[in-house]
Amino acid sequence: MFARLILSRLLELVAVLFGVSLIVFLMIRLIPGDAVAIMLGANTEITPDRLAELRGRLGLDLPIIEQYLRWAGAALRGDLGVSIWTGRPVFDEIMAQVGPTLELTLLSLIIGAGLSVPAGVLMAKWRGRGADAVLRIVSVVGLTTPSFWLGIILILLLAAVAPEAQALGYVPFSQDPLGNLGRMILPAIALSFPIVAQLSRLVRSAMLDALGQDYVRTARAKGLSENAVVYRHALRNALIPFVTSLGVTAGYLLGGAIVVEQVFAIPGMGRLILGAISERNYPLVQASILVVTFAFVIVNAIIDVLYVVLDPKLRS
């Protein structure tokens, strides 16, 4: 049964990855006009020879199905082509810049998830008419605060409080761990703010739901302390929807990181992709989106399976 479940998830995963690759592949067809002429026109004079040469190099003179098979086949072997302008393998360029983005995403996820569980539990305990209304307004404000704006506000606040502190830029963790975390903390707070609002509300309503269940009444009836009821019985069940929503949250953070990076001058995927867009380096744009989305989908699938392992109800 369990093996069959894993197998069906695996098939689903392959189907989604195939769909994702098809969408990324077809994306280049959205370019109005001749993509090759546009790419070439960004840097050099357009001549028929150069057009034909680049077209041939990108394989764009082949039938579309063959183009896809070649492109996908190469991508599966880790070959995403070479950057049109620098000649470096696209994969290397991505690997060189993915670090800061991953760090920012992960840090925000830890802060967001870490804060929203206790916040949600507290919110569930303070249930009442007045408190509900206030919580709703606060959580909607949190949810709709643009993180890139919050980042700017945080920079201003830091400049007012500690003018000598260095808030912008990036140093690798391996070089200077404290300097790295010191610079990442503001962007991570800005990025995780909306998800704290969303997730804590989710935890709260799941907690309220759980606290109304029969097993909680039973736990109370057998004389367990309030803390044991709340934390050992209700919270464990309330965390299930929370864990499932972490995947979507990670996707939100990954996209948001690209924007927040720009506020704090962090050299990550945002800089790579935006640079590629302004150079009209479409293959690099495609490859970046493909790599990030694949990684994201695969991590989500793993979480999905773990979640089944953790939840006995789903195993049977």
Partner: protein, 274 residues
């Protein structure tokens, strides 16, 4: 509807907030104290004053007037995009739920693939291909939100289609089109309206993010995200333009989100107070 509005203070407040913004955007030429593009060198980077209520930007343009016009861009892109995705996603989801079989499988697999992308990343990719401008941002947002509406519509429609009155209508020989339009859709309207308000709130933030990255409306057109990006470069000289532009995005998105939230609560009694 009227009684419903008065019964719920949050709903009323949110509806008024949204209505005020839409009106302000429409009436921007009448309300704005200055031309949003007019440069005034003397007022450059000045803070709020009697003449420039919210200050002036790096070219001496009035921030308040630019925000009013920025609402126009923001609302035009978000409304256009969300309604397009509601129509496309809603139709696909409804037909998938109704006809099932291979049609449903193919449509929903496509939606799964689209849904698998991180929203902003896919939007950036689409804009990159179409070329950075406001209309590309609208198309990108419409594409990324289509699967969300399709999935929601399909899930909600499946329940309604199984219900007795639909089966009964089918039994007495109701045509497919009539069944969907007269019996199924009216029962899904409330769910979709609440979701539309929530998606508008999110779309406003995505549009602002895209124009902040330089991938939406292009200068010198007044756009909230762009104002924030330009203001960022003069932050230490004069933060006003950036602060107020961001606040404007927040309030606009807040209004729609609160509206959607309150509507969802109203429509689903189980969620009331939860």
């Amino acid at each position: 509807m009227k009684r419903l509005l008065w019964r719920d203070a949050t709903l009323t407040f949110a509806a008024l907030l949204v209505a005020a913004h839409v009106l302000a955007a429409i009436a921007a030429p009448l309300i704005a104290p200055h031309d949003p593009l007019a440069q005034n060198i003397i007022a450059r980077l000045k803070g709020p004053s009697a003449d420039n209520w919210l200050g002036a930007d790096q070219l001496g343009r009035d921030v308040f007037s630019r925000i009013l016009y920025g609402y126009r861009t923001s609302l035009a892109v978000s409304l256009g995009a969300v309604f397009a995705s509601l129509l496309a996603g809603g139709a696909l989801g409804l037909l998938a739920a109704f006809y099932k079989g291979w049609f449903e499988r193919i449509v929903m697999r496509c939606m799964d693939a689209l849904f698998a992308f991180p929203v902003l990343l896919l939007a950036i990719g689409v804009v990159a291909m179409l070329g950075p401008q406001a209309s590309s941002a609208a198309i990108a947002i419409a594409i990324v939100y289509t699967p969300i509406f399709a999935r929601l519509m399909r899930a909600a429609a499946l329940v309604v289609i199984e219900s007795e009155f639909v089966v009964a209508a089918k039994t007495i020989g109701c045509s497919d089109a009539r069944l969907l339009v007269r019996h199924v859709l009216p029962n899904l309207a409330s769910v979709m309206i609440a979701q539309t308000a929530l998606m508008l709130s999110a779309a406003i933030l995505v549009e602002a993010s895209l124009s902040f990255l330089g991938l939406g409306a292009q200068p010198p057109s007044p756009s909230l995200g762009l104002m924030l990006a330009e203001g960022r470069n003069f932050l230490m000289l004069s933060p006003w333009s950036a602060i107020f532009a961001g606040l404007a995005i927040l309030i606009l998105s807040f209004g729609f989100n609160l509206l959607g939230d309150a509507l969802r609560d109203r429509l689903d009694p189980r969620l009331r107070g939860g």
